[in-house]
Amino acid sequence: MIEVKNVEKSFDEDGGKRQVLFGINAKFYDGKVNLIIGQSGSGKTVLVKNLVGLFKPDSGEILYDGRDITKFDTKQMKELRKEIGMLFQGSALFDSETVMGNVIFPLKMFSKMTAAEQRERAQFCIDRVNLTGSENKYPSELSGGMQKRCAIARAIALNPKYLFCDEPNSGLDPKTSIVIDELLFDITHEFGITTIINTHDMNSVMGIGENIVFIYKGHVGWVGNKDEIYNVDNENLNNFVYATDLFADVRKYRLKHGYKPTRITQK
């Protein structure tokens, strides 16, 4: 579990300071898909960067299963990083390596496995994300969805305890988005990972949001899950989630007629 306590962060700007995060409190649970949602500029990317240690908060605590990473030195941080997997918005695959090369890379750098074991583990991850047969392709030869899946395979290669995803669905079509969402959901439950997804894709929010943290102008606006989100009387949240007429209609309909839980809940 990752716990965030009173995290504040501001940046120096010409002629003063601009505060981005104001006393953020949140909990992200093991084996659950935790979503951080919010408008562009609300501070959610800054929050995620604080969580993974790319930024240092001005005050407050970030506890990884009780370990406060804001007090970590470089060496401890390095050790912690081995427990973290991260999926970047643009996949961030290494262009010079094949799919296999990308997935095996963290194993080569950190694990004490033999070469054969490394290949086996990498192959397992590649199979898990359904990329079997593309091992020797280069990232430039893959489609957007396949690149994302390859990045997921790389992120889970070292069996991370914590998985961070930065807008995993940006630039993907709705169907591929669902594939990625379900993959992340399944992996989270299968391996008991603490998954934190930074997103503004409402389909993901409705589909896999087991624990949703809504960030509004640097504050925590709302916390809950995808089934509660229909009955909330929070204006800021509703303005954000039901921004399109379609979702507003869906909400009206569902509130009136009730609804069947989404596929993922049935599992």
Binding site: M77, R81, F88, F94, F164
Partner: protein
Amino acid sequence: MVLLKSFEKLGSYCALMWRSIGIPDKWREFFKRYMAEIYKLGIDSIPLILIVSLFIGALCTLLIKLNISNPLLPRYTVGLTTREIILLEFSSSILCLILSGKIGSNIASEIGTMRVTEQIDALDIMGINSANYLIMPKITGLVTIMPFLVIICMVTSLFGGFLICVITGIIDTDTYIFGIQTLFIEWYVWFALIKSLFFAFIISSISSFYGYTVKGGSIEVGKASTDAVVMSNIMILLTDVLLTKLLMM
């Protein structure tokens, strides 16, 4: 303001170099990358070096002959002057200026693109010292291979001069060969090799710095690779003056 900015840049350059020079996470990976960089930055530059030095050697001989056809000067002056020009300046400084265009822009744009596509962040998140992983093999690789490139350049340039003697008959080859052997000072070769080590470090580290600190997109990557080449050229020239003063006097 400009002064302050330059100091800031120098500071972050030093900080980056401090981060990149250290014990690699995995030696095996380091050596693999080290060999790859030697091949990519060094061996792949040999065709360019051959062409450039062949022509410069030939042109030096040709122009010196045309400009100092004076009965008071011995005929072997042509070979001697060609040799001194090549050993003292061309084979190290000018060669590195030329190579900084090829290697510098290559390094800066490669690392810069990795930066803008978040590949460097991905390395950092994995817990790898990205500066060390990316920059160290490039610096050590280029510093290792550069003296060999300089030697290749020296030999080819002198051969270029010889070739022009054969082709045009402007002076006879015996005189040329006598010229390039006369009053030979071995130290000049060492001087060129020592200089080339410094220049190799300058090219690889400055280009890496510009690439590593890119912020933005394709335009910034392009700008970074231009800046990298310009800055390494300036630094090469400055260091050249400094080293010549230190080593030759």
